[in-house]
């Protein structure tokens, strides 16, 4: 196993090299660069050339690539063109804001999805199951910003239960508990919306997974042991239905840090998603490439973790 992990970690190297080459190539092919994207009025051709020289954009792509990779190996992702500060700092500034809601969302949505999915499966075609199914599809049929609007309208504006947007109350000079409370209040809406959005699909996966399992012989054995239905379902059946969930869990890792582009915007949440989006639109290559590589590493790790977890969840799986 440890051998497998080491091998997979080693495999990450060529994969990352591949990703870096492709990503870099894309950045070269994307129309425009930072100079054209920032659309400085009256910029003379000379000034544009000067700037390109400052940013190193005038060098041949291959050379630029190697400079980038070389810096990256020393942990230096370069300076963001837009933010005028090191990319790592930009990421560090925003990523935790995204992480916190993504994390809470993940916990919530996985818990809810597990329960709802399991019950839907257990009572397949019951009224509960049908209502859940319809609800899930309803949420899937509208774009995410729409659900966001809905929440703002009814929960924030009409019921005035929670603040409409942002992460803290303006001018709040509180520290400690008051600060946390304030952040939690502000988190509420985005988390609710993100949870409703993710929970639907997950519920479906849990439901099908469970449907497959609950008719197996060993579930019968568990019942024959006189275990309570709850134990039978949540322990014996659930564990066997985990494989798809583990796969999806692997995808969550980059998701935790990736930010939610649209919803962060809707709720004015200071997350990395918007920053990343802007870096793409502004062709802020150091930030765009740096963050992409950051996510790539997380993606690879996430998949590696899920591959390892397969074996834990199901001892029969032997990955070589």
């Amino acid at each position: 196993m440890s051998q497998y992990i080491i091998r997979r970690l080693l495999q990450m190297i060529p994969t990352l090299i591949g990703i870096s080459i492709i990503v870099f190539a894309i950045s070269q092919m994307v129309p425009g660069d930072y100079i054209t994207a920032s659309q400085n009025p009256n910029m003379t051709a000379e000034r544009a050339d000067q700037l390109r020289a400052i940013y190193g954009l005038d060098k041949p792509p291959v050379q630029q690539y190697f400079i980038w990779v070389k810096n990256m190996l020393t942990g230096n992702l370069g300076d963001s063109f837009q933010h005028k500060m090191p990319v790592t700092e930009v990421i560090n500034t925003y990523v935790w804001n995204s992480f916190i809601i993504a994390f809470v969302t993940m916990i919530l949505s996985w818990t809810i999805a597990a329960f709802v999915g399991v019950f839907s499966a257990q009572f397949q075609y019951s009224f509960f199951d049908k209502v859940v199914t319809l609800l899930v599809f309803l949420l899937m049929s509208l774009p995410s910003f729409f659900i966001g609007l809905l929440a703002i309208k009814y929960i924030a504006l009409d019921l005035k239960l929670f603040p409409t947007g942002g992460m803290t109350t303006a001018g709040l000079n509180a520290g400690g508990f008051a600060y946390i409370k304030d952040v939690v209040e502000h988190m509420f809406l985005p988390v609710v919306v993100m949870t409703t959005l993710t929970v639907g699909g997950l519920t479906r996966y849990f439901r099908t997974g469970m449907l497959e399992v609950i008719r197996q012989d060993y579930i019968r054995t568990a019942r024959a042991k006189g275990l309570q239905e709850r134990t039978v379902i949540f322990k014996h059946a659930f564990r066997n239905a985990l494989l798809p969930a583990i796969t999806l869990l692997g995808f969550e890792l980059p998701g935790l840090f990736g930010g939610a582009m649209i919803l962060e915007r809707v709720f004015a949440w200071p997350g990395i998603g918007q920053i990343y989006l802007a870096s793409i639109n502004m062709r802020d290559y150091p930030l765009m490439l740096g963050f992409t590589m950051f996510l790539a590493v997380l993606t690879l790790l996430g998949n590696l973790i899920s591959d390892i977890l397969y074996g834990v969840a199901d001892p029969r799986i032997r990955l070589k």
Binding site: V30, P31, G32, T36, A37, S38, Q39, N40, P41, N42, M43, T44, A45, E46, R47, Q50, L51, I54, Y55, D79, F81, Q82, H83, K84, M85, T93, Y94, N97, F145, G148, L149, I152, A156, L157, K160, P163, T164, G165, G166, M167, T168, T169, A170, G171, R265, V266, F267, A268, W269, P270, G271, Q274, I275, A278, N281, M282, R283
Partner: protein
């Protein structure tokens, strides 16, 4: 021209000209309008709050502070480096410069109490006010100005300005590292600095005067010629000479300013200003709940009505300093004939598009200038009112005859236009169907596509396009390179020696009245040549809580310039 939203692109420290915009989502959503649309005049301007009793207590009680809704700043609090209009608005209050813009788009002295200009217009002497101090209490000196200019001229300077184009003597040498000093800048005494330029134009004074001096003692500590890293590291900890100073900044959330007690213009009346990040989904709600005092809101009838109905908001609908247009590639044989370009302008029902997209909150324009500018003229300007017959006539004259399939052709070539536009834009939504239909009637086939803004710009740069839709942002000064032959921003390849001459003349002329005439003539030329189809000038809306008074706002002078004068009622 252009850039992430007209708002997003700051005019280069107050100078320079136009900004093309992917007339982007910030300005979207068309309004519901009474079909007449006649009351357009009344739609623009200030509507005062009607019922201050409706003001939510949160806002009423906030007597020593105001909260301004803004799109997220990037935290570049340094006038040399800031990129977005939102950082710009904050920096305007943290730093002040030698001159400042007035409501009519002209300039007045600010930190300079006197400016001497030599007769040959090549030497500028700025006299800094005696009481000008940085927020740390140290005085602003001529040395600080020199230091700041060095930063601008530094080889690693990558900000929005193009300081070498200011033609300061010795700047190039400093930039290349061959000189340790800028020979053209002379520190006469602590408060006097003299700048010599190798060449001048109407903008020179503005370029030099709009520089906000940075304290050398603070920013100069780690600075070595050719490396601005140490300066950039201070971006989040600014020290300037503006009415406010930075108290705290939390990225993506808010920027807290507090009055600068050393401000030479008098300590700001409201001691605390908070810039709070809002979005177009939340900004109206936050105004309503009193969480913010001021915000930009997309103009459309729904929003205007909504804001007005709140009663406690002053609603400013201001002409936007820019215009939308459909570019035609003048180098493309399709559009090289002026008759064709005119025909395409006549043949497009611009009024309908504008009405559909903006209702009363935008107007069709016929010259590339805002009607609030001093340079604006309506004299001898053809309005190209929708006239398909005229258009057909012109096309016939140009040799494009209707073919058997109803499509015009010339020399065996069909009249087919590829049209690119950015999507998610209210104008494009209206423009494409109307244009397709209008041109079909003329016998022209329009092939439309929606593209990423940068992709369109790249097509433009390569000259590989027929037509695209975009918008320009304007600066207070009418000088621009958009219409001069091979101008930096001349997208269309339009060339008219007469226009070139007029722009060159206008640039060199320092007398406003004379400049007016020059530009009027240039606009008439352009109007006749129809190098592009000018579409509209739209408006912006600024909603301000009625409890705040003392604003001096115009299309040229944005709200941030009067923050320090504003006071809360009672």
């Amino acid at each position: 021209a252009c850039g992430g939203g007209e708002e997003a692109a700051p005019a280069d420290n107050g100078t320079d000209s136009a900004v093309t915009t992917p007339a982007e989502s910030g300005e979207d959503a068309a309004g519901e309008t009474p079909a007449e649309g006649a009351d357009s005049e009344s739609a623009i301007g200030l509507t005062e709050a009607t019922d201050m009793t409706m003001n939510p207590p949160g806002a009423v009680n906030r007597t020593d502070s105001m909260i301004i809704g803004t799109v997220a700043p990037q935290g570049v609090f340094n006038p040399l480096f800031h990129q977005t209009a939102y950082d710009f608005a904050i920096d305007d209050n943290l730093f002040s410069s030698l001159i400042k813009v007035k409501a009519d788009g002209t300039y007045e002295n600010d930190m300079a109490d006197k400016i001497d200009i030599s007769d040959d217009n090549k030497t500028y002497t700025f006299h800094i006010r005696d009481d000008a101090k940085f927020s740390d209490g140290t005085p602003v000196t001529a040395n600080d100005y020199l230091f700041t200019m060095k930063l601008y001229m530094d080889a690693s300077y990558d900000g929005q300005s193009d300081p070498l184009s200011w033609n300061v003597v010795g700047a190039n040498e400093y930039n290349k590292g061959t000189a340790k000093d800028i020979s053209g800048i002379k520190v006469v005494d602590d408060k006097t600095v003299e700048i010599t330029v190798s060449d001048y134009d109407a903008m020179t004074q503005v370029n030099l005067g709009a520089v906000a001096p940075l304290p050398e003692a603070y920013y100069g500590k780690g600075y070595k010629q050719g490396d601005l890293t140490s300066v950039k590291q201070l971006n989040a900890k600014p020290v300037g000479s503006g009415p406010y100073k930075l108290k705290s900044y939390s990225a993506g959330q808010e920027v807290d300013l507090v009055a600068n007690e050393h401000y030479y213009g008098g300590v700001a009346k409201i001691p605390n200003v908070i810039f709070k990040v809002t979005t177009d989904t939340t900004n109206m709600a936050m105004l309503q709940s009193g969480e913010t005092d001021l915000d930009n809101v997309t103009v459309n009838e729904d929003n205007v009505e909504e804001l007005k109905s709140m009663g406690f908001l002053d609603v400013n609908v201001l002409k936007n300093n820019g215009y939308g247009y459909v570019a035609m590639n003048n180098k493309n044989p399709l559009f090289s004939d002026v008759k064709v370009r005119q025909a395409l302008t006549y043949g497009l029902n611009r009024a309908e598009v504008v009405e559909a997209a903006y209702g009363p909150y935008a107007e069709v324009i016929n010259i590339p200038q805002s009607d609030v500018s001093w340079a604006y003229t309506a004299d001898k300007i053809n309005t190209y009112d929708y006239n398909p017959d005229e258009a057909k006539k012109l096309l016939d004259e140009a040799g494009w005859t209707v073919g058997s399939d109803g499509i015009r052709e010339k020399d065996g070539k069909k009249f087919e236009i590829n049209f690119s536009a950015t999507a998610d834009n209210p104008v494009v939504d209206a423009l494409i169907p109307i244009m397709t239909e209008n041109y079909q009637e003329l016998g022209i086939k329009l092939v439309t596509e929606t593209l990423d803004f940068n992709a369109i710009m790249e097509k433009k740069d390569r000259g590989d396009y027929d037509m695209f839709f975009a918008a320009w942002g304007l600066t207070p000064d009418p000088d621009t390179t958009v219409y001069i032959t091979d101008g930096a921003q001349n997208n269309s390849g339009y060339s008219n020696p007469k226009v070139d001459e007029l722009y060159a003349k206008g640039k060199k002329e320092l007398d406003l009245d004379k400049r007016k005439e020059i530009y009027a003539e240039a606009y008439q030329q352009i109007n006749a040549d129809a190098p592009e189809i000018l579409m509209y000038q739209r408006t912006n809306m600024l909603a301000i809580n009625g409890r705040l008074d003392g604003w001096d706002i115009s299309p040229y002078k944005e709200y941030q310039h009067s923050l320090s004068q504003v006071q809360a009622a009672q």
